[in-house]
Symmetry: D2
């Protein structure tokens, strides 16, 4: 049984483990003030083309809740796609810090895209006009989105301009950012320029754990380490994160891992297309959602693990296939082979 | 320069790193539902002599804030020693979840002991009598305490009985629990029997990161994983913690690491005593607080790093020396040698 | 200019003011422990047909936030209609206490009704299945709803049964409860029997301020006064509320005031129907939402104040007309007269 | 039985009730946007000698929790005297909004004074130096204090200067402000000049309910009404508060009521002094704490109600006597007469 269930099925890329072993017995400062965390931050900044504060954190939900609660005053709210991880799959982590999320259908007027557009946000602004309602203050996007789609540079530029004009902060959840950037050609420097803050996911791209939060906007930087500590995110052995991100940014490892994951997903997607099947969403990243006959799904489940995402009717369902830095090409080839030609 | 500043200066015991490497490419479930987290829980339970729920978390502040906010209703408060980590060094993490901490001087009527006694708690209960005040509901101790002292079995039994009689929960912060247990002869089974919940620190005792929360009281168990997720503590690659605790409990590694740390601290303490100096607190664990002449401190600082804890007047100060599983015996011997005989 | 904008435009019924004057200089206990608050609670209980805890609070948002945060554990969520006051018009008051609201379209499959049905709730339950999502625990309805509709006895019984079977609490926001009860024939005793807690609005029905929270379910009663105090809801001169509710429940004043408000709304509604116009929602209570030509609305606005609720297209809009205990019949007659016959 | 237990024993001054009756049936805007709230704000501003935002709220705990949570970021803490109402008697209301209070012994080095001095605050600042601890940001004083003492102009000026130099906000809880100002000669204009925000208590000085929050510092003003609404403090019939404060500031009623309360307290205090007894605290305001023989206390309790505050040993206790705008001079004379000459 080979699993395509998620991109955190295996642990870390061997270079990450090796770097941890190599630096294991150095004595260094705690709480992220060590040389490796500093070096990781410097390496990341080289990609940004502008200054920023970098904080290394443990996971996506943690990063989101620390960042958003630090950035907002109590009455300020977040606008997010209704499919966003913070809306659905973080057990109310954001609300637990006191903030409402204003969920927006993200469909571009048709099938779900997972992406926010200026016009979607404007509708929320139009409805929130006085102190009886929360005050929309921050737009949260995910790139790639929870359904595999990615933002183009033009889409990000439109969002950034729109938010700037309306005094809204723009924040990007980057749990799978490297996969999105590799797929879209958007760069970390674009992300720095077009958002107020975003994070670069490590957990789902070769690290044991770890996300690198990048705060570009000056007014959001002050006292941020207090918030990390208060929310339980400051590791005593902070360099566990530092060493990993130092390695992920050495020779562009982060991006080559994402490229592999995307390539594996493409290979499966092409086989599925060639077999005559379609997809629930338009995804160039490492998560794809093919729509297959239930009989075929049942057959595939004997040898491969994956989630059945949504019943589509007429004996078909959408499944979710996720690849990662660790996905083996032979496994992909076998799976692709098992998806026979589409016989309606 | 050799550092005695803390027990998170180095990273992980080599067996921990090896275990991570050995299991690295297994495909397994995420979010702590993997085989290693399950095996770690089973290993821990064997020491408890009774059933319990085990949850693996990332750090001490995180564990404290998740556990306490899950255990309490909004109006319920925590009683803790005024030297407790949650009172002083967690950036208001507990208050950020909405709960007041009632801080109690922990001095046993004389010098600070860091330990709570039933009579200390009773004073708080006497003052909190109606709905204009918070309702004391949980007593939080640290074992070992923040100043190195440890609870004897008799002290724990007295606290446990007292809390039981007054409908108070008893919770123990065990960031340095193994060091305390090894020093006092108290066992994990005693901890399970005498508290409602406690945690076993990994970060400060050989792990990269990780604390094992043990919930013994049935009424505190329900839905606990929701709280972990909501507060950002559920690692996608949860087995990073599972593998580590599996190893820490294999052949009692956890305890042998603590024994080494304590032995190193004893060796330094004996040298200091032999040289005629005294201590700020009575500590049999891996943190000691010798009181030394400032001139000697200055001299020692040239070769060793440690914190100066408190000015004591008359040209003397208390310093903090912390040892760990990784402390080298040669370094200890050199340091002991450098503490000359006391010449008043 | 006569206003139909809201039911809190005028202050208190004269009997309320008289009762406050009559008892003004009595010396009594503070914080709601006075004889009038006790007498008010006894009067209310006579209507309930069962025991309950009664707490007198200042306003609707305050009552909702205190009750819901007291009733729920941190990871538990509320299910409410997307038109509910707590979803839209309380500035995120519930989220500020840490809880997510799961908003449900309340349309009965067609036009908005503002009312929840078991099948609406079941859909939410079906989606929330594990600890990555909040745990639905409490269903919150408003009676009357924010768009004037009221629950029938059958609808309440179905909801109550459904919630009981699924371990969900049922809570009713009764800012305009008396109007709903008078319109539907449902009694306070029904409300007590069919919900776990609800409140009886005073502010919008003749009081200066005040809502009476009725907690029927035993497990929700404990320590409730702590929560009131903690959230700033415990008035030092609590009998300001006690005297008012004592009077509102003397001779059924509460209900006769609601009957007047409803009658005034009916009179206007009949004139509007007779003139050939329709309504946005089906409302037998003191809020109605006629759909009128924009030209007529503009004409009416010269002499009467009311909110334009929603553009309906084709030169028509829905307006909101609210009547109260204080609405003058002559004003109603004049307004009714000004709504000419419908000429398409 | 005549009661000196508190200053909220009776309800409102008759002029307040009359004003409510006179304006009862006017139709006006809701939520504090009415003409009376506006007029009250204008009247108050005339006393301030500078611009400010005025918000009318329901009670002291509510005002404190709304103001402090609106003024602070999540990691920022409050410094207050350990006898302060927010530390002891608000059921953790401030902590429930997420903020830690750093309690300071307020003794001026000797007996408790209830007052903070710059040197008390400096000690807290010295201890809070990095992100492992909360960040002290706001100093909260009460004037008069919870034990009857009042701040002199010089003391306020010293605090104000100190806070200004250290980037600390200064906020005054004024539940009994009028009594303090009348006793000390400090003016509302001084309060406006020397603090960043403070409130003027109505509840304990002749109103049914109501406190007027004065925000002087521009950076604290933005969006404040959102916070009031979110925390349940925005009354639908806001003019209930407006009418009362309009009347309290007509012809200086607020101050003449406080003058009466203070005079009644002085009369009792003088009788007690003349009889040879002393006091627990130095109070020129409407709360006094005489130390009397227990036998005398027992005798007095037959005819008068008051709190026994503290056992003093040697058969003596401190009691608390509180006077108000409504205290009858005959009652005071009778009580004074019953305190016989001191016979040791």
């Amino acid at each position: 049984m080979y699993s395509f269930k998620n991109d955190y099925i295996e642990n870390a890329h061997p270079r990450i483990l090796q770097a941890l072993a190599d630096t294991n017995m150095e004595q260094d400062e705690g709480y992220g003030l060590d040389r490796h965390s500093a070096a990781a931050a410097e390496s990341i900044k080289k990609y940004l083309g502008a200054d920023a504060d970098i904080h290394l954190l443990c996971g996506g939900t943690q990063t989101n809740l620390i960042a958003l609660s630090a950035f907002l005053r109590p009455h300020e709210a977040i606008i997010a796609a209704e499919t966003a991880h913070i809306c659905v799959h973080e057990t109310g982590a954001i609300e637990a810090t006191g903030h409402k999320i204003l969920a927006v259908p993200a469909s571009g007027g048709g099938a779900p895209t997972g992406k926010l557009r200026p016009e979607d946000i404007q509708k929320v602004l139009d409805l929130h006009t006085d102190e009886h309602m929360v005050k929309p203050r921050l737009v949260k996007i995910s790139n790639s989105t929870e359904i595999g789609s990615v933002y183009s540079l033009e889409e990000l530029e439109a969002l950034s301009r729109f938010c700037g004009e309306r005094n809204l902060l723009l924040y990007a959840d980057g749990a799978r950012l490297a996969s999105a950037l590799v797929a879209s050609g958007v760069t970390l420097s674009d992300m720095r320029r077009l958002t107020d803050a975003f994070y670069i996911g490590g957990t789902k791209n070769g690290a044991l754990l770890g996300e690198a939060l990048v705060i570009g906007r000056d007014s959001l930087k002050e006292d941020f380490r207090y918030h990390i500590k208060q929310k339980g995110g400051l590791l005593a052995k902070g360099r566990v994160l530092g060493v990993q991100f130092e390695e992920l940014f050495r020779d562009g490892l982060l991006f080559s891992l994402a490229r592999h994951a995307n390539a594996m997903a493409r290979k499966i997607a092409q086989a599925i297309s060639a077999a005559g099947y379609g997809f629930l969403t338009d995804s160039p990243s490492n998560q794809i959602f093919p729509i297959l006959p239930d009989a075929l799904i049942e057959k595939l489940q004997k040898n491969w693990a994956f989630y059945v995402w949504q019943k589509m009717g007429e004996g078909r369902s959408a499944i979710r296939i996720v690849t990662s830095w660790a996905t083996k090409e032979e496994a992909v080839d076998e799976f692709a082979g098992a998806v026979g030609p589409c016989t309606p």
